[in-house]
Every structure is written in structure tokens, then in C-alpha cells.
């Protein structure tokens, strides 16, 4: 039972991470109608920036802050140079163009930081475990990730639903020509949204970095998961992305933990260890296929919010 709670928290943590990626992706998708395969590259860039700044400033928080700023700037520059010509083109063009960007960024990172990969070490006070429930200890840093991301999600919700900028963003999503005709600088709005998405992706990369390894291509597999999240949640819907991210995070974690035992029950021990991760990944994609077949517009379509 205690184990179950711990794994639930792990699932939440993965879900929160996916939400950070998916929120930007779904905004960019919903508003600019752009399929951005380079989103995972921004996740990677964020982690590399943060690793560099943590090293330079010798402070975890300052490193994260500077890294966040750097990713935001990188996103804005990327949008102005490479993404703008892609608006209004068909999705195949997006896939191809941003695939080119992904190749570029992988190589760019290798050129600047080398092929070896980096690590970010946590400040020592983060390395403890706290008692979340009687008898359940959980690493403090993972808890901090969950709580920080919840705050970010709340801020994002307020930004989109309660501010003037957010109103323009939503308006742009439903009818961009009309918003442009009313005198709103659509170009600037798009750049801001892309920058916001980039910063969120970068943030995801840098907070995950201390738990994993900062390496080339780290954004590729998680990008696909983030796409699954926004398809399940409904393209353009932040609320949908939030719920779907938690569902996917929980399924993935639970599947990895409990499916191997289940398989071992029926087959051999080693079959369980190897088939477990495969099966849990399949669970997620099966869920996505089911959603697409029975509710093609996703669980929380953006138009009905």
C-alpha cells in the first residue's frame, strides 16, 4: 500500500513533467496550427543551459533562472528565424521543417557541449526525503517538482483565462484573421506564445535534469509522449493537457512497476523484466488509439471549454 502511494507520486511527477511540455505544444498547436517536432530540442536546450549556468554560478536556483531566460530567448529567436515561414503551410511541411531543426539542434549541442553529456547536482538540502504520510518517505526534490509544476499550471491557467494577453491568445486560437483585423499584432502574439512554450519546455528539461542525465536526444522520446498527451487531452486545450498528462504519467509509471510482476505471474521471471516496459508503453499508445477512434477530438476539446 505504501509502495502504491510512492509509485502514485512518481506517476504524478512524470505527469507534471509531461504537462510542462504538452502545455507549450498544445498552445503552439492550437493557436498557430503548427506541428513542432523541435519542441523536444527546446527541452534539451533548457537542460544544457541550466547545467552550464549552475556550473558557472555555483547556485542551483540562479542556474535555473538564467537557464529559463536563455531558453526563452532561444525560443523567440528560433520563432523569428525559422518557424515564421512555416505558418499557414500544411502539416507535412511542419513535420519536415521542424525535423530539420531537430537534427540541427542535436548537432549544435554536440558542437557546443560535446558528445559526453552533463549532470546537474542538486543542492544538499534537496537530497533528503520527507515523510508525506505516516510511514511514507518521499524524496524532497520530487515533491518540489510536483508542487512547482502545479503552481506553474495555475499561473498558466490564470494567464490564459484571466488576463488580456490570455484573451488574445484564446481569440487567436478560434479566429486568427478576425483578431488580426481588429488591430492585434498577431506576429508578436505568435512569437510570445512560442517563447512561452519554449520556456515551459526548457523548464521541464532543467528540473528533470538532476534526476536523469543531460544528453543529446533526451527530448526525442518524451516529445512523442507529449504529443500523445495533447492528442488524448484535445489539441489546444490546456485543461485537457493537464488531465491527460497525469493519466499518461500514472499509466506509464504503474505499468512499469506492476506489469512485470503480472507477466512474471504467468510467464518466467526474465520475461517479466523485459516485457514490462514494452507493455506499459503499449498501454499508453493503445489508450491514444482508443481515444482517437472513439473521441477523435480528444477528451477535453478546446472549443467546448
Amino acid at each position: 500500500m505504501l509502495y502504491l502511494i510512492e509509485q502514485c507520486l512518481n506517476g504524478m511527477q512524470l505527469g507534471m513533467l509531461l504537462f510542462l511540455l504538452a502545455a507549450g505544444l498544445t498552445l503552439i498547436f492550437g493557436i498557430m496550427d503548427l506541428v513542432n517536432l523541435a519542441h523536444g530540442s527546446l527541452y534539451m536546450l533548457g537542460a544544457y543551459f541550466a547545467a552550464t549556468f549552475v556550473e558557472l554560478t555555483d547556485s542551483f536556483l540562479a542556474g535555473i533562472g538564467l537557464g529559463l531566460g536563455a531558453t526563452l530567448v532561444a525560443g523567440i529567436v528560433l520563432e523569428m528565424i525559422a518557424i515564421r515561414p512555416l505558418y499557414g503551410r500544411d502539416h507535412l511541411d511542419h513535420v519536415l521543417g521542424t525535423f530539420g531543426l531537430l537534427i540541427f539542434f542535436n548537432e549544435f549541442v554536440r558542437l557546443i557541449w560535446g558528445p559526453a553529456g552533463l549532470t546537474i547536482s542538486l543542492p544538499s538540502q534537496m537530497l533528503t526525503a520527507v515523510q508525506v504520510l505516516p510511514g511514507v518517505y518521499y524524496p524532497l526534490y520530487r515533491l518540489v517538482i510536483i508542487l512547482t509544476t502545479l503552481v506553474v499550471a495555475l499561473l498558466l491557467y490564470i494567464l490564459v483565462m484571466r488576463t488580456r494577453i490570455g484573451m488574445l491568445i484564446r481569440a487567436g486560437a478560434s479566429n486568427r484573421e478576425m483578431v488580426g483585423a481588429l488591430g492585434v499584432n498577431i506576429k508578436l502574439l505568435y512569437t510570445l506564445v512560442f517563447g512561452l512554450g519554449a520556456a515551459l519546455a526548457g523548464f521541464a528539461g532543467m528540473i528533470q535534469a538532476p534526476l536523469a542525465f543531460v544528453q543529446i536526444g533526451m527530448g526525442e522520446n518524451i516529445l512523442i509522449l507529449a504529443f500523445v498527451v495533447i492528442i488524448i487531452g484535445g489539441i489546444g486545450s490546456i485543461r485537457g493537457a493537464f488531465v491527460a498528462a497525469i493519466i499518461v504519467g500514472l499509466i506509464d509509471t504503474m505499468g512499469r512497476v506492476f506489469l512485470p510482476d503480472l507477466v512474471r505471474h504467468f510467464l518466467s521471471y526474465s520475461a517479466g523484466s523485459s516485457a514490462g516496459p514494452a507493455l506499459s508503453s503499449m498501454l499508453i499508445y493503445t489508450l491514444m488509439a482508443l481515444v482517437l477512434i472513439f473521441r477523435p477530438e480528444g477528451l477535453f476539446p478546446a472549443s467546448s471549454k
Partner: protein, 331 residues
């Protein structure tokens, strides 16, 4: 009267001549690497042609086409590991399984369109990718070495490099011819009609879903063939064969060469893979001209050029290489 001697046709003929004579060049110079490289190019060209059939003519952008490469390859690898060496079982089994998989994926994913179609095909390919990762007996994520190439008795010896090259080339030409005939047929016209206006095609009485599904299955079988050839070529299979970036490569080949023309993807496959081989040298050469010495380190980073090149092609040269050769006539 139709003019046959267009710049485009001249280019295609020249390319075919180069492909046909390559082993001769290789035999004369002793450069066997060229044959190995071009066998690979030809095999992947088959995959690109099959993808182009559904993407270029049918408007179905499959982002999971590498799954069929994997299925074709894994059937050969698994059967070989279990001691079934004969190609008379391996090859048909691989093609049938690819076709069945395409039937399942197509039946579900053709209900959706646009970006949802892209994503659902990707999802199914990811599923196969993770299954292959979980196949411990067959190497898991390390992959599996195939001890012997498929055995066709005394009929043909696949272990001979030159023979294998010409077999692949013949299969590529057969594929191109088959797709060309199909595109010109009534079936092909229905497929192309449904790409431009699906609702209208249904209104005039075609069940476009069945046509598209059939087309999807045919493309899957052809790509499965490419997977069979690839496994026999490298004597090795691994899940990396169907990583999603591999599907991206296939899309790049199809678009690079010029979508919606039968031969375009062949040009695209040759262009992309030759570029992969030559860009490093090209960078070295340019640096030699510019600063008087070869920057060895710069050669490693050729993808730094490839990536932005793709973006520029998307933005400025929508018709791909074929479009450039054929001139502005093509839209």
C-alpha cells in the same frame, strides 16, 4: 504528341545508368564500399517509393512507415534465429505480416485525418518499436545478428555482393513500375481523387475508405519488402530500425525527391544518403578552400548543415529535386 526527352527524363535515365553500371565501376577499381552503400540506398528507396504511394498520391501522411521496415526485418531475423533459413518461407511470411499490420493500422487510422492521422500512425509504430525492445530472446534493444542470409536453394545466392545488388535494383525497378502502373490505373485515379476531394469522390459513388485502405496495405507490403532486404543486407536487426526518427528520414526522402511523382522518392533517397556520405568531405573541402587547411573537426558536424537545408527546401523548393529539374512547370 508527348515530348519524352525532357530534362527530367534525361536525369532519370542517367541515374538509372549510373545505378546499373555501379558494380562494374566497383569491380574495375576494387571499391566495394560503393556497392554496399548503394545497395542500402536502393533498399531504402523502395521504402520511400512505398511511402510516397500513400503520402504523395493518397495524401495519407504516415509518420510510422519505419514500422514496416522493422516488421520485415524482424520476421527474417526471428525465423533465421529459429533455424528457418529458407527465403521461400521467410519472405512471404514477412510480406504477409507487414500487410496484416498495415490492414489493422489502416482500418483504425483512416477514420481520422490530418494531424490525427500523422499521430496515430506514429503511435502504432511506437508500439511495434517497444515490442521489439521487449523481445529479449531476439536481442531486446541490443538487436540481433543474423547468421545467414535468406536461402533460396540453388536459385540465387544472396551472399554474393554483386548478385544481391542487382536483385535489390531489380526489385526497386519492379516496385517503381508497379506503382507507376497503379497510379495510372482507375484505382490510382480514385486514390488521387480522394486526396483532392474525398467528399466529392464519395458523392459520385466510390467507397474511398476501401480504396485508401487497399492502397495503405500495398504500401505496407512494399515497405515490408524493403525491411526484408535491409535485414539481409546488414545481417543485423535492432529496434533502431523503426525509431520514429527513421520514419522521419523516409518522409524526408519522399519529399526531397518530389512528392507525387513515382520516381521522385528514388532521387530523394539517393540524394539524402549520398549527401550523408559526402557532406563531411564537402565541409572539409570548403574549409580547405577558405582557410587553406582541412578542419577535421568540422567534418563531424555535417548535420548542422543538413538540418537547415531541409527547412530551406520546405520553405523554398516545395516540389523537391524533381521539381527543380522539371522546372517551374510543376506546381
Amino acid at each position: 504528341m508527348k515530348v519524352w526527352l525532357t530534362p527530367r527524363n534525361a536525369f532519370v535515365v542517367a541515374l538509372l545508368a549510373v545505378l546499373a553500371l555501379l558494380p562494374v565501376y566497383s569491380a574495375l577499381t576494387g571499391n566495394t564500399f560503393m556497392v554496399t552503400l548503394f545497395t542500402r540506398i536502393i533498399i531504402l528507396a523502395i521504402a520511400a517509393v512505398s511511402l510516397n504511394l500513400i503520402m504523395g498520391f493518397g495524401g495519407m501522411v504516415s509518420f510510422g512507415h519505419a514500422a514496416y521496415l522493422g516488421i520485415g526485418g524482424y520476421v527474417v531475423g526471428i525465423l533465421a534465429k529459429e533455424g528457418i533459413d529458407t527465403g521461400f518461407i521467410q519472405w512471404p511470411a514477412a510480406l504477409v505480416l507487414s500487410g496484416l499490420f498495415a490492414l489493422g493500422v489502416g482500418a483504425l487510422s483512416l477514420r481520422t485525418r490530418g494531424v490525427y492521422f500523422i499521430m496515430i500512425t506514429l503511435a502504432f509504430a511506437q508500439m511495434v518499436y517497444y515490442i521489439a525492445n521487449g523481445l529479449d530472446r531476439y536481442g531486446g534493444d541490443d538487436g540481433l545478428t543474423i547468421q545467414r542470409r535468406s536461402d533460396f536453394g540453388g536459385l540465387i545466392n544472396l551472399s554474393n555482393r554483386t548478385v544481391y545488388y542487382y536483385l535489390c535494383l531489380a526489385l526497386l525497378l519492379a516496385t517503381v513500375y508497379f506503382v507507376w502502373r497503379m497510379v495510372k490505373s482507375r484505382f490510382g485515379l480514385v486514390i488521387q481523387g480522394s486526396r483532392s476531394n474525398d467528399r466529392r469522390m464519395r458523392a459520385i459513388g466510390f467507397s474511398t475508405f476501401r480504396y485508401k485502405l487497399t492502397c495503405f496495405v500495398i504500401a505496407g507490403v512494399l515497405c515490408g519488402l524493403s525491411g526484408v532486404l535491409l535485414a539481409n543486407h546488414t545481417n543485423f536487426i535492432s529496434p533502431a530500425l523503426m525509431h520514429w526518427t527513421r520514419s522521419g528520414d523516409l518522409i524526408v526522402m519522399a519529399v526531397l525527391g518530389g512528392m507525387g511523382t513515382v520516381f521522385g522518392p528514388v532521387i530523394g533517397a539517393v540524394a539524402l544518403l549520398v549527401l550523408e556520405e559526402t557532406l563531411p568531405h564537402l565541409i572539409g573541402f570548403v574549409s580547405y578552400v577558405l582557410i587553406g587547411k582541412e578542419v577535421v573537426a568540422a567534418k563531424e558536424y555535417w548535420q548542422l548543415i543538413l538540418g537547415p537545408m531541409l527547412l530551406l527546401i520546405v520553405i523554398y523548393a516545395r516540389g523537391g529535386i524533381e521539381g527543380l529539374i522539371a522546372g517551374s512547370r510543376r506546381g
